[in-house]
C-alpha cells in the first residue's frame, strides 16, 4: 500500500486525505487507509506546527524598511533642461501646444509612514488655460460681489443649483461659502457634482469664508501632493519657452523645499531626483543645468 501511495504524486496524496471519510465507508480498504492516514496526519501536524512557529518568528523580526528605497543615481543618465526639452518637443511633434503639458516628478527621500507634503502653488507663468470657477454664496451679499470681481464665472445659490440640475456644468472648480452650505446640501447636488469631484466640502478646503482670495488662488494655482514619495504636477505648456519653464520649475522646487522644511523638526525630507516628462513623452532625469555645450539654441525651443 505504502509503495502504491509513494508512487503517486504528492497532489494525489493530499486528495486521498481529503476523501478519507467517504473511504471509511468502504469496508475493505478502511483499516489500511485509516492507519496510514493517521500517521500522515500526525506528521502533517508536526510539520504545520513547526512552520507556524517559524512564520511567527519571521513576522516578529521582519519589519519593512522605514524609508522608501532609493535607487542609486550613478547609473542614471541625466540631462540638462534644454536637451530634455528638445527631445520632448520632438516626441510631442504635431500636438496641440496648449493642451500638452510638461510634467515634473519630484522624488523625495522620506519615511514610509511619515507626514506628506500637500499644498497649492502659483506659477509665474500660468499652466492651465484659465479655469472657470463657480461660487455658491447668498446672491447680492458682499462675498458675491467680491467673488465676481475676483473672476468667478458663476455666482449665486438658486441659479447655480438649477443650472447644475439641468446638466449645465460650465465650470472646473466650485467653492461654497459657509452661509450657503445648508442650502447646497438641501438641493442634493452631491449626486451630480460628487463624481466629478466638484462638490464643495470642508475637507477639501472648498468651503471657505474668504471666497475672493480663494478664487484668486484657484485661478492660477495648482494643487499638488506627495504620493509614495513622489510629488507630481504639471509645470508648463508645450509652447512655453525654456526660460518660462525654468522659472516655473524653480518656484516649484523652492516651494516643495519650503514645505518639507515646515513639516516638522524631526522629519527630514530631501529632494532625491527631479524628472521632467510630458503628456505622452518619456521621463528625463534632470541634472540641474539649464544648457549643455551641445544643446540647441534656446530661441528655437519654443516654436
Amino acid at each position: 500500500m505504502s509503495s502504491f501511495t509513494s508512487l503517486m504524486p504528492t497532489g494525489a496524496r493530499t486528495v486521498l486525505s481529503i476523501c478519507r471519510p467517504s473511504l471509511r465507508q468502504w469496508p475493505m480498504a478502511a483499516p489500511l487507509f485509516s492507519s496510514y492516514q493517521q500517521v500522515r496526519e500526525a506528521s502533517n501536524n508536526r510539520q504545520a506546527q513547526g512552520k507556524n512557529k517559524k512564520e511567527k518568528a519571521i513576522k516578529k523580526t521582519k519589519k519593512g524598511p522605514r524609508e522608501f528605497r532609493q535607487k542609486d543615481l550613478k547609473d542614471m543618465q541625466q540631462w540638462a533642461l534644454c536637451d530634455a526639452i528638445r527631445y520632448i518637443r520632438a516626441i510631442e511633434v504635431g500636438r496641440e501646444p496648449t493642451s500638452i503639458k510638461y510634467e515634473i516628478h519630484i522624488r523625495l527621500k522620506t519615511l514610509r509612514d511619515g507626514p506628506v507634503i500637500r499644498n497649492m502653488l502659483r506659477f509665474p507663468h500660468s499652466v492651465q488655460t484659465e479655469s472657470r470657477i463657480c461660487v455658491i454664496c447668498p446672491p447680492g451679499s458682499r462675498h458675491a460681489k467680491e467673488a465676481l470681481t475676483a473672476g468667478a464665472v458663476l455666482v449665486g445659490e438658486k441659479e447655480v443649483f438649477d443650472a447644475v440640475k439641468d446638466g449645465k456644468i460650465e465650470f472646473d472648480r466650485c467653492i461654497c461659502h459657509p452661509d450657503s452650505v445648508d442650502a447646497m446640501n438641501k438641493a442634493g447636488l452631491g449626486r451630480i457634482l460628487g463624481p466629478r469631484g466638484l462638490m464643495p466640502s470642508v475637507k477639501t478646503g472648498t468651503v471657505v469664508d474668504d471666497v475672493a482670495s480663494r478664487v484668486e488662488m484657484l485661478r492660477g494655482g495648482t494643487v499638488y501632493r506627495e504620493r509614495d514619495a513622489v510629488v507630481r504636477l504639471p509645470i508648463g505648456q508645450l509652447g512655453f519657452t525654456p526660460e518660462q519653464l525654468r522659472d516655473n520649475l524653480r518656484v516649484t522646487l523652492d516651494q516643495v523645499k519650503k514645505d518639507a522644511a515646515s513639516l516638522n523638526d524631526r522629519i527630514n525630507k530631501e529632494i532625491h531626483e527631479v524628472v521632467l516628462s510630458s503628456t505622452n513623452g518619456p521621463g528625463f532625469s534632470l541634472n540641474g543645468e539649464f544648457t549643455s555645450e551641445n544643446s540647441a539654441e534656446i530661441a528655437t525651443l519654443s516654436v
Binding site: 503517486m8 504524486p9 497532489g11 494525489a12 486528495v15 486521498l16 476523501c19 467517504s22 473511504l23 535607487k71 542609486d72 543615481l73 547609473d75 542614471m76 543618465q77 528638445r86 527631445y87 518637443r89 520632438a90 516626441i91 511633434v93 504635431g94 500636438r95 518619456p282 521621463g283 528625463f284 540647441a296 539654441e297 530661441a299 528655437t300 525651443l301 516654436v303
Partner: protein, 205 residues
C-alpha cells in the same frame, strides 16, 4: 520605480530612434539656403483618422519621420491636423521662404489642402499628395523637394544601434526559452489534474 538599467535601456533606445533613422535630416535654413533649395519655414500635415482611403502612410510619416525632423530642426514649427473626413486630403504642405524650389514646382502642384494654415506674404507653399504612399516613399519625395541634408549616424550611435539589435536577438531567444519553461510547468500541472481525476473515478467505483 522600475530598475534603472531597464529604465535607461528603454529610454535610450527611444531617444536613439528619435536621433537616427528615416527622416533624420536638416532642412535648408536661412543661412544654408541656395537658389535651388530655398529655406523651409514650417510644415503642415493633414490626414484622416482611419487608415482606409490611403491615409496610412501619412500617419506613419507623422509617427516616424516628424519627430526626427523636429529634433534636427527645432526651429521649424510642424503642425499636424487629423480630420474625420476619409475622402479628404492626406497632404503635406511645405512652406518655403520667398519662392518654392524647382523640384517642388515640377512635382507638387496638383494637390491642395484647405486645412493648412495660410502662408504669410513672404511664404510660398507646395503641397504633396500623400495618399496611398508608404512613409519611406513620402520621405524620399520630401527630401527631393526640400533638399534636406541627411544626418548620418555617428560611430557611437552606430554602436548603440548594434547593441539594440543584439539585445533584440537575445530577447527572441529568451522569449522562446521562457515559453518552454512555462509550457513544461503547465504540462506538469495538467498531468496532476488528470491524475486527480482518475482518483475521483476510483472512488466512485
Amino acid at each position: 520605480m522600475v530598475n534603472l538599467a531597464q529604465r535607461m535601456r528603454k529610454l535610450k533606445t527611444r531617444l536613439l530612434n528619435v536621433r537616427v533613422g528615416t527622416g533624420a535630416a536638416i532642412f535648408p535654413s536661412a543661412a544654408t539656403a541656395t537658389k535651388e533649395f530655398p529655406a523651409i519655414t514650417r510644415l503642415h500635415l493633414t490626414y484622416a483618422q482611419k487608415i482606409y482611403g490611403g491615409h496610412l502612410g501619412a500617419r506613419h510619416f507623422w509617427r516616424n519621420c516628424l519627430p526626427r525632423l523636429k529634433y534636427h530642426n527645432p526651429a521649424i514649427p510642424i503642425s499636424v491636423q487629423q480630420t474625420k473626413d476619409q475622402e479628404g486630403p492626406a497632404a503635406l504642405t511645405i512652406y518655403f521662404a520667398e519662392k518654392i524650389s524647382n523640384a517642388a514646382s515640377l512635382t507638387a502642384a496638383q494637390a491642395t489642402d484647405k486645412l493648412a494654415p495660410k502662408p504669410s506674404e513672404t511664404e510660398k507653399t507646395a503641397t504633396v499628395d500623400l495618399k496611398n504612399l508608404d512613409y519611406k516613399d513620402i520621405w524620399t519625395s520630401v527630401k527631393m523637394i526640400t533638399g534636406a541634408q541627411e544626418v548620418p549616424a555617428t560611430a557611437e550611435e552606430e554602436k548603440q544601434l548594434q547593441e539594440v539589435e543584439q539585445l533584440r536577438q537575445r530577447s527572441i531567444q529568451d522569449r522562446a526559452r521562457v515559453a518552454g519553461i512555462r509550457q513544461a510547468k503547465k504540462d506538469q500541472e495538467r498531468m496532476l489534474q488528470e491524475a486527480r481525476g482518475e482518483v475521483e473515478k476510483l472512488k466512485q467505483v
